[in-house]
């Protein structure tokens, strides 16, 4: 456009002099869209989550074949698989897994229930907050693992101690995230509830609980990870069964392959649980539109 008006000023009456053939007006520059960075994430890659782990596996395999990785440090993937098959054939892996999963599940259920209840009481009343929030923050500052000696004295070395340790670790993220999500519910919705003359029960049901749900799910994802994390520790500190015990025993005999099997099982459990939580999270929060959509 600029070129056009310039030339027109120089040679009035001959509008298209800027074009060599005198046929076309100067074309606008084509817009460069290819190199421009989009602000959305683009289409999601199918099975994208598997690419990173698959790469790791390739590096591990190649390293083992090439002899770069000493089998005493890290046995080859196939020998780990063989060990796993042996352990399953003997029925050991299933037994240990069952024990571990049961412990984690109990700890998780108690922790989530207690954490949610505390978050609601503390989130919905000033008195509740005054009583509950302080102790929870103190508990949060103490590493759960540091509590184990005390818990052992209180609960012995049985299942009670293990489940309690896991529940104590789990309730923290549930409490923190649910409480913060609940407290950050927009005051405009509170105002709306007042103009609609909602009762307190309705207000909790329609505004508070759904409003706190995103925080609860975020807390739950942390909680699941924490549950497995604490499980590892309690099983290695004092246990006679469970995946952690299996790993600890293998350490005594220098059986690296069994240790790896145990670690892989932990990883799979963690991922599967996270996947389950995410599945429910997406279903329950389908009203949201976020960057990920």
């Amino acid at each position: 456009m600029n070129a056009f008006s310039n030339t027109a000023a120089v040679a009035p009456g001959i509008p298209y002099t800027s074009d060599e053939r005198g046929l076309l007006p100067p074309a606008a520059k084509p817009r460069r869209t290819g190199t421009r960075r989009r602000l959305t994430l683009g289409r999601s890659i199918p099975f994208g989550a598997l690419i990173g782990p698959a790469l790791l596996l390739v590096v591990w395999s190649v390293g083992s074949i090439a002899g770069v990785i000493d089998p005493r440090t890290l046995p080859a993937p196939w020998s780990v698989v063989e060990t796993a098959i042996d352990l399953i054939a003997e029925g050991k892996l299933q037994d240990h897994l069952q024990t571990s999963a049961w412990r984690a599940a109990q700890g998780l259920v108690f922790g989530v229930l207690i954490g949610t209840t505390l978050a609601l009481i503390s989130g919905l009343s000033r008195l509740g907050e005054a009583i509950i929030d302080g102790p929870v923050q103190i508990k949060r500052a103490i590493p759960t693992l540091a509590l184990i000696p005390l818990l052992m004295l209180w609960f012995g070395i049985g299942e009670g101690m293990k489940v309690t340790t896991i529940a104590l670790a789990v309730l923290i993220p549930i409490y923190i995230q649910t409480h913060s999500s609940l407290r950050s519910i927009d005051s405009r919705y509170v105002e709306l509830a007042r103009t609609l003359r909602m009762g307190y029960g309705e207000f909790i049901r329609h505004v508070i609980l759904p409003g706190a749900l995103p925080g609860f799910f975020l807390g739950l994802r942390f909680a699941v990870t924490y549950a497995w994390l604490s499980l590892v520790v309690v099983e290695q500190v004092n246990a006679t069964s469970g995946i952690g015990y299996m790993i600890d025993l293998a350490r005594n005999y220098g059986q690296t392959d069994i240790i790896i099997v145990g670690l892989v099982v932990y990883a799979l459990l963690g991922l599967v649980c996270d996947g389950i939580v995410r599945f429910f999270q997406e279903r329950s929060l389908s009203w949201r539109r976020t960057l990920a959509d």
Binding site: R188, Y189, E191, L192, A193, R194, T195, L196, R197, M198, G199, E202, H206, V207, P210, G211, L213, L285, S286, W287, R288, R289
Partner: protein, 247 residues
């Protein structure tokens, strides 16, 4: 408060007498008095900070943390339409409309209300899936499904584009003609006020500076001479000097 005296001829639905509202040292409403008749459509104009929203919030019982005095009578059945549609994002459209409505036929009434605002078929949509105008229509349905005797609207079309706004004016006029609530519409759009209202108030320094009955027959055309005169008069009260636009 909140005792409705309707039934008698022309008994006002809203009675405000010497209302004072203060925020700290600032007096926002300074001895304001106002009556709104049954079914009357009142628009409230005023510059920013003139106390429009404070008055509306007082009428909506949303100002319990504000200090002040005065007498205030409003009906129990009243609804508020806010500037934002204020739909709960985690409730589907129909659930938003019947929110807090405790009656066995709530869902049915909700559907009828949605049909009235032209949104039948969108009952199960999420609020984020609607346009701004559609969201505000859901908010209107949510207000009307409660059969209000008083509809309080705080710049309800303020965030809509000009075309949507005109369509919403038509819709609001139709709905008010059918349901006959008394309306207090807070706005800073003079044309909107003159187009829709039976009576326009101008609020200035916490008191009513002008109270003008709009005697232009409906439907009102912006080009109408009387429309232009009222418009200029209102603008003068708002501190804007204009000449009457030539027709």
């Amino acid at each position: 408060m909140a005792s409705h005296l309707g039934g008698l001829n022309g008994a006002p639905v809203v009675r405000v007498d010497s209302l004072v509202r203060r925020f700290g040292p600032r007096t926002i409403l300074d001895g304001l008095s106002l009556d709104i008749e049954k079914g009357e459509f009142v628009a409230l104009l005023g510059r920013s900070g003139s106390g429009k929203s404070t008055l509306l919030r007082a009428l909506a019982d949303l100002d319990d943390k504000v200090s002040g005095s005065g007498r205030l009578e409003t009906p129990d059945k009243k609804s508020v339409v806010f500037q934002d549609a204020r739909l709960l994002p985690w409730k589907r459209v129909l659930e938003n409309v019947v929110l807090g409505l405790e009656r066995p036929d709530a869902a049915e009434r909700g559907r009828v209300a949605l049909e009235e605002v032209g949104l039948s078929g969108r009952e199960n949509a999420w609020p984020v899936e609607l346009s701004g105008g559609e969201q505000q229509r859901v908010a209107l349905a949510r207000s009307l499904v409660r059969d209000p005797e008083l509809l309080l609207a705080d710049e309800p079309f303020g965030s809509l584009d000009a075309l949507t706004r005109l369509r919403m004016h038509d819709l609001l006029r139709q709905l008010c003609a059918r349901h006959q609530p008394a309306v207090l519409l807070v706005t800073h759009d003079v044309d909107e006020a003159v187009t829709l209202a039976d009576r326009v108030l101008v609020l200035d320094h916490g008191a009513i500076a002008a109270d003008i009955v709009i005697d232009v027959p409906t439907p009102r055309e912006h080009g109408d001479r009387r429309f232009g005169e009222i418009r200029s008069k209102l603008l003068r009260h708002l501190g804007v000097e204009t000449s009457v636009l030539p027709v």
